[in-house]
């Protein structure tokens, strides 16, 4: 697979354990006590979105559902809230994945933003419907930051696949 369709570089196939590891690290980042700071992105949503664009056959709605369930329990939220949002996100990104990679990174980030925003808005709507408390507009800053993080996320998460097939000890990368 190529990083983008305009690139001539061919990537190595992704390793399943790396996908798993990156999702676990995203969960850990979500569990950090930084969640009450304004503008902290939902790391799981970002990484899930990334992998369901890149590897929609491996990371699909099943993963999204399980991660959503874990997030619900960890958050003390109502069960099903994150599940709904993540499953929707995984479906939409998987259906966009064929198109998204034709664009340069900046335009990819621009297209990911409404999806992440929708993911937050769905959760907000679900909780407001059942009498939750409105958390303030800073709730929507997170997705904007997350879509800006699309650049570093792409770089970091594709890094293992950039390695050459034949290792050269004199030229490690």
């Amino acid at each position: 697979m190529q990083p983008t369709y305009s690139s001539s570089r061919i990537l190595l196939p992704v390793r399943p354990w790396f996908i798993f590891l990156s999702l676990i690290i995203a969960l850990l980042l979500n569990f950090l006590p930084t969640s009450h700071w304004p503008g902290v992105p939902d790391w799981v949503a970002l990484v899930l979105c990334f992998w369901s664009v890149r590897e929609f056959r491996r990371v699909g709605m099943g993963w999204a559902f399980v991660l959503g369930l874990l997030m619900d329990v960890a958050d003390g939220a109502v069960l099903g809230q994150h599940c709904f949002a993540y499953v929707l996100l995984a479906y939409l990104t998987a259906s966009l994945s064929r198109r998204l990679l034709w664009f340069p990174l900046a335009q990819q980030a621009l297209q990911v933003l409404p999806l992440l925003m929708l993911c937050q808005a769905v959760q907000l709507a679900m909780r407001l419907l059942v009498g939750g408390d409105f958390p303030g507009w800073s709730y929507f800053v997170g997705p904007i930051i997350a879509s800006l993080l699309w650049f570093p996320a792409t770089f970091i998460l594709l890094l293992p696949q950039y390695q050459p097939v034949e290792q050269d000890p004199n030229r490690p990368i």
């Binding site: 006590p33 709605m61 003390g76 499953v87 407001l128 408390d133």
Partner: protein, 312 residues
């Protein structure tokens, strides 16, 4: 046209169609959302998932607590000395009251026995450490480090050194979730100390509380202290809850809007005391079988009557 009704070869199979999967998962999500919210019958599922998530969450909390620890360690000796002095001073201030408390309690008990009044319940409990605030931005809850292993059950009230903080709402094997009194629509039955009037105070979700259903001409003043009334079977009477900070009386509405601020350090981190559940209340007396006039069947009028009785 032979072969058109053949199934595709197995290496093209990719499972169910995405839209079908989406519908299935969304249906499950909505189902567990409703069941969890309305029937609370998924607690076992939540507890078993929390067994997996809880260790990870504690690992994620360690960097923050290490920084706290380091900050404490590096705190100057002078600061600690000043704090120590202040604490000693505070202890000395409360000493006269505390020393006489035992004698007063004994006296109170004796007098209550003389009057054949039921004895006062004693407050007992266990100290718990707040681990972190729950991440859910739609509610106000904290997680403490005592759970089923320490015998915590849902419903127990939690207090700090100043007043009521909240109530245990969910219990996990090694932790428990406390909903703060400032959480939206979290209710605490209270009594105004000055006038003795009873009411219920509700959380607003923005850090304040509201005393609802008080008539516009009710005897409430800014600065009034609200304490638990003990009329439920959860909170013992007499714990400070909130202080009235603002009253809006508008003659267009039948109720005054009374805003209060919590007395306890509700948003602070630290230790709190989870009080033991209260002794079982005596069973409510049976309702009178027949009432003059309405025959006791009209629910609406009965509620109206009860409200009138409350207002008086």
């Amino acid at each position: 046209m032979a072969g058109i009704d053949h199934a595709p070869p197995p290496f093209f199979k990719r499972g169910p169609a995405p839209l079908a999967l989406l519908t299935l998962y969304i249906a499950i999500s909505v189902a567990i959302f409703v069941v969890d919210l309305r029937m609370h019958s998924l607690d076992l599922v939540r507890q078993s998932i929390s067994l997996v998530v809880d260790p990870v969450q504690r690992v994620a909390q360690t960097p923050g607590s290490l920084v706290d620890y380091a900050a404490n360690y590096l705190q100057g000796r002078q600061v600690l000395e000043a704090e120590n002095k202040a604490l000693k001073h505070a202890q000395l201030n409360t000493a006269p009251d505390l020393q006489r408390l035992a004698q007063m309690e004994a006296e109170n008990e004796r007098l209550r026995k003389l009057l054949t009044v039921k004895e006062r319940e004693k407050a007992q409990g266990q100290v718990a450490q707040i681990l972190y605030t729950a991440r859910d931005p739609f509610s106000r809850r904290v997680i403490v480090d005592k759970g089923q292993q320490s015998g915590i059950v849902a419903g127990q009230p939690a207090i700090d050194e100043a007043g009521v903080v909240g109530q245990v709402t969910r219990v996990f094997p090694f932790s428990a979730e406390i909903t703060l009194i400032t959480d939206k629509d979290q209710a605490v039955p209270v009594q105004i100390v000055r006038s003795g009037q009873r009411s219920v105070v509700f959380g607003l979700g923005n850090g304040q509380l509201e005393l609802r259903y008080m008539p516009a001409n009710a005897d409430v003043q800014v600065g009034d202290v609200l304490v638990t009334s003990g009329l439920d079977s959860i909170y013992l009477p007499g714990f400070p809850v909130a202080k009235v900070i603002n009253i809006e009386r508008d003659s267009a509405y039948s109720f005054a809007r009374i805003f209060c601020a919590p007395i306890a350090g509700v948003e602070n981190f630290g230790e709190l005391m989870v009080l033991s559940p209260r002794a079982a209340m005596p069973p409510a007396p049976p309702e009178a079988k027949s009432r003059a006039g309405d025959g006791g069947s009209d629910k609406g009028s009965r509620i109206k009557k009860r409200r009138v009785a409350k207002a008086n």
